[in-house]
């Protein structure tokens, strides 16, 4: 393990039995898990190279229990790591040796469906897909659709501000949530927002979304639902160069078209996917675009024609257009299964998640190929092409000495490159532990201090999910200190008011 976690607090570990007994009083029965065997499934999340058994697992089923657990932990200086379904790819739900792992899996109820206000109120353990399924009969759905949607929880989606293939047009999680109930580390329960479009005061919902479980534990969520588009059709377009495919994406956007989805795969990804699901992908192309148009039939038909013409103009060599729902899903099947498909051709893989200005794509791919040679590791690429979000998959074998370290170094180089060309470290998977130590690539100490000051407003003792997101932990008192002193004006020439 190359990432250091905060030093376990021995005084907490020494009190483990007492702490477990106290937690059992709050959450009775099977809600507290403390045997090594039973805690095993909670040792890691989707970033499986990292494992750590927690001190104890607690699975509350009411907000009151969450509040009491947090209050107890706050009073006793015990760290807490929230967990939804454990599909995070950045290690956000990695337990701490001296911490409580607080699983929200029992919060499974859909509390209210309000079609008139186009809102659904759910508990945080409800899966992303279950929300769409619950409103499907009336022709509605919940728009953000991470590929993990059958498993990941809405609470985890809020914490990570998750995206999906449709977020170019319909937004990320943050653009589709209206409110939540959150429990602070002190045990205080707060209701933020609701069915109205905006909450009063500062946009706390906005900053809680994407806060990776560091600000509070979400115990209820109100999401916005949309009517399903009348129809959707997809084009599957092949190019002999990534540059040409990239040009096609740019031309579609500059023609004023924002497709429902616009995904790109490079040759290794195409081959892996085709071998796995037999979607009929062309194997002699360097890049494949899947572009989906959705909306009323007349609109979709017309835009399909426009996109096809743009693709031809960019030198596409193959172009298939779906004529049935079955065919559209077939086009997507390879893209949606890209991660497991790559999993079949390599014992292990690391999934990266940087975003770049789209114009930099050819450069970034060229540099990635050079890195691939340098590290002696293969890479397959899938992209959310419309918004420049790359998912390079680095193939390696953890059983070969040195390969995991090499893969991680390769991944870090890719992310540094993303920042260098004007992009960011993560487009949708979050920082977690995986990108934590790269944060200084993108943010100065001052930037990070400001973010951590905000953390202090929610969790002054730093007990909630410490060791994630921020490379260095500071005490709140230190962060809050003002370094400007009266009488010592740094800039004496500024006119006094």
């Amino acid at each position: 393990m190359t990432i250091l976690m905060p030093e376990p607090d021995q005084s907490v570990l020494a009190r483990r039995d007492e702490i477990i007994a106290a937690l059992r009083k709050i959450v009775p029965g099977e809600g507290v898990i403390s045997s090594d065997a039973e805690m095993k499934p909670y040792e890691s999340d989707g970033l499986m190279a990292y494992r750590q058994p927690p001190m104890v697992v607690v699975l509350p089923s009411t907000t009151k229990q969450v509040s009491e657990v947090l209050r107890y932990c706050h009073q006793n200086g015990i760290k807490v790591v929230p967990r939804g379904s454990g599909t995070s790819l950045s290690g956000g739900a990695l337990p701490l040796a001296d911490g409580v792992l607080l699983g929200l899996g029992k919060f499974k109820r859909i509390r209210e469906i309000d079609f008139d206000n186009r809102a659904v109120v759910v508990e945080p353990g409800v899966t992303n897909l279950a929300i769409s399924q619950a409103v499907d009969h009336a022709g509605f759905y919940y728009a953000p659709d991470p590929s993990s949607q059958i498993a990941c929880s809405i609470g985890g989606n809020i914490a990570e501000n998750s995206g999906g293939v449709h977020c170019l047009k319909y937004g990320m999680t943050t653009n589709n949530v209206l409110g939540c109930e959150i429990v602070l580390m002190t045990g205080e329960i707060l209701k933020i927002g609701g069915k109205a479009a905006e909450c009063a005061g500062y946009d706390l919902m906005g900053v809680i979304t994407g806060s990776e479980g560091l600000l509070g534990v979400i115990t209820e969520v109100t999401v916005r639902i949309l009517r399903k588009p009348e129809t959707a059709r997809a084009l599957m377009i092949g190019f002999t160069s990534v540059e040409a495919a990239g040009q096609c994406v740019a031309d579609v956007i500059s023609a004023g078209i924002i497709p429902g989805g616009m995904e790109m795969m490079d040759k290794p990804a195409i081959h892996a996917a085709e071998a796995f699901v037999h979607a009929g992908y062309p194997l002699d192309v360097e890049a494949l675009l899947i572009i989906e148009l959705d909306g009323p039939q007349v609109e979709v038909d017309e835009l399909i024609g426009r996109v096809e013409a743009i693709a031809l103009g960019c030198g596409s060599t193959t172009c298939q257009i779906s004529t049935s729902e079955q065919q559209r899903l077939l086009f997507w099947s390879g893209r949606k299964a890209a991660f497991p498909a790559v999993g079949r051709i390599s014992p292990d893989y690391l999934c990266m998640d940087g975003t770049i200005p789209r114009a930099q794509l050819p450069l970034v791919l060229r540099r990635m190929n050079e890195m691939s040679e340098k590290y002696g590791l293969r890479v397959a690429n899938v992209f959310h092409a419309g918004d420049g979000n790359l998912h390079p998959l680095i193939l390696y074998d953890a059983n070969k000495p040195g390969e995991q370290d090499a893969a991680e170094a390769f991944g870090a180089d890719i992310l540094k490159l993303c920042v260098e060309v004007g992009g960011v470290l993560t487009g949708e998977h979050g920082v977690g532990i995986e990108k934590r130590d790269l944060m200084p690539e993108m943010f100065s100490d001052i930037d990070l201090n400001q973010q951590q000051r905000l953390k202090c407003a929610f969790d002054s003792e730093g007990l909630l999910n410490p060791g994630k997101v921020f490379p260095t932990l500071h005490r709140c008192a230190e962060l809050g200190r003002m370094h400007v002193h009266k009488g010592q004006l740094p800039f004496p020439d500024i006119p006094r008011f």
């Binding site: 109205a196 479009a197 009063a200 906005g206 009517r227 078209i257 009323p296 975003t355 407003a457 008011f497």
Partner: protein, 413 residues
């Protein structure tokens, strides 16, 4: 009143540091077009950002624009318009409502105020379009939030806090915003003579339809009586207008307008208004023209109420009946603008009682100095949330230097 006009981000930092050292709160101003919104501020020193007015980078293909904080909104809008793009959240122009100079207003002022227009129901608000910012905190430090790409989850999303914070957290010096293609065509369906509750039902049906409605507004006849402009031109005496907008490529907008018209038959026979004429109507709604400061209701306080959309009609009807005031509805009922007859508290107490019953909130956007000093301009929050809000404020501005007291009465000292 002392005004310091800064020319670059470094000068902003210097000025804020000097203010901190001297314990001198400062008011942050762009063009000053919205200075009358909020609690009266406890300061007589002004930091003016209008000279930070450059467009740093505009990349239509990347769907982003980066501008300095004080860039004039009107100029930026025409720049992106020249590439057939727009800010999808349709920022309102407050000039008519507040009675300030037409066309005034900076980009950062628009973000700080966070007043989105009719398309918010589909495209979100200012907060959904602010991708990144450079700002100077009340620690006197320049920090960066977010990034310059459309998709980013690296670190806390501080941009969300800056949007709608009325300059109380940090002084933005540069912002990156998402731009999107402007729709090719627009169509508006007009239903006449519906009562508020029936209109609310019609808008709810339209927004729950698959026809992708991007504007849903209702203007009662009495509110239109004294209006000038495009809305007045299509209005009949004492008859309400319910407007539903469809946008997109021409074939699609027309097709959906026809389908929606059929779907709403039970509410009446809708008329169709196209393109420029349609756009003029929505500008009127966006800018709350019926309550313009140049009109007969100039002295009436104007409230902005945000509530669950399907509950808006009943609330608005009750408010206007009880107070003798006027209301208009946007966002399918989720946004109510209420102009109420003058009163010492601007009707704050009675209005908020009603609004809270349906889990909404209300801010006074236009009001005399005396009324604004006497009441909470922004909706008071429950104790726990208010306390968290002040902790958030202190985490950016511990000595309460920036726009002191503008957002909450308690913090004036």
């Amino acid at each position: 009143m002392d005004t310091l006009k800064v020319r670059d981000a470094q000068e902003v930092e210097d000025a804020v540091r000097a203010a901190i050292a001297n314990e001198q709160p400062i008011e942050i101003v762009g063009h000053g077009s919205k200075r009358t919104v909020g609690q009266p501020m406890a300061t007589n020193a002004v930091l003016e950002l209008s000279a930070l007015n450059a467009v740093t980078a505009y990349e239509p293909n990347e769907l982003i624009i980066t501008v300095q904080a004080g860039a004039p909104l009107a100029d930026v809008l025409s720049l992106i318009d020249s590439k057939n793009q727009h800010f999808a959240f349709e920022p309102m122009d407050t000039a008519a409502l507040l009675g300030t100079a037409p066309g005034a207003g900076t980009v950062a002022g628009m973000i700080g105020a966070g007043l989105a227009g009719p398309r918010r129901i589909k495209a979100g608000g200012a907060r959904d379009h602010l991708l990144g910012a450079n700002a100077v905190s009340g620690f006197g430090e320049s920090f960066k939030a977010g990034g310059k790409v459309v998709k980013n989850v690296t670190g806390y999303d501080l941009c969300k806090l800056l949007a709608g914070s009325w300059g109380t957290l940090a002084v933005m010096t540069e912002v990156t915003l998402k731009v999107t293609p402007r729709p090719e065509s627009e169509r508006t369906l007009v239903l006449r003579g519906l009562g508020d509750v029936a209109a609310n039902k019609a808008m709810t049906a339209a927004l729950g339809s698959p026809y992708d409605v991007t504007g849903a507004a209702h203007l009662p006849g009495s509110a239109l009586r004294t209006t000038a402009g495009a809305l007045a031109e299509i209005a009949q005496p004492d008859q309400s207008l319910t407007l539903l907008r469809l946008e997109g490529i021409t074939s699609s907008a027309s097709h959906r307008a026809q389908s929606l018209r059929t779907a709403l038959k039970s509410f009446g026979d809708a008329e169709l208004i196209e393109d420029d004429a349609s756009a003029a109507l929505w500008r009127g709604v966006r800018d709350v023209e019926p309550f313009a400061a140049s009109g007969p209701r100039a002295l009436w306080p104007v409230w902005r109420i945000v509530c669950p959309p399907a509950a808006g009609g009943a609330l608005g009807e009750q408010l206007s009946r009880e107070s003798g005031g006027e209301v208009i509805y946007d966002w399918g009922g989720g946004l109510i603008w209420a102009a109420l007859p003058p009163a010492a508290d601007g009707h704050a107490k009675a209005l908020r009682q009603r609004v809270e019953k349906i889990a909404g909130h209300a801010s006074l956007i236009r009001g005399s100095d005396a009324v604004r000093a006497a009441i909470d301009v922004f909706h008071p929050q429950p104790a726990g949330l208010a306390a968290l809000g002040s902790r958030v404020k202190r985490s950016f501005d511990p000595s309460n230097i920036l726009n002191r007291g503008r957002m909450s009465r308690g913090s004036a000292t």
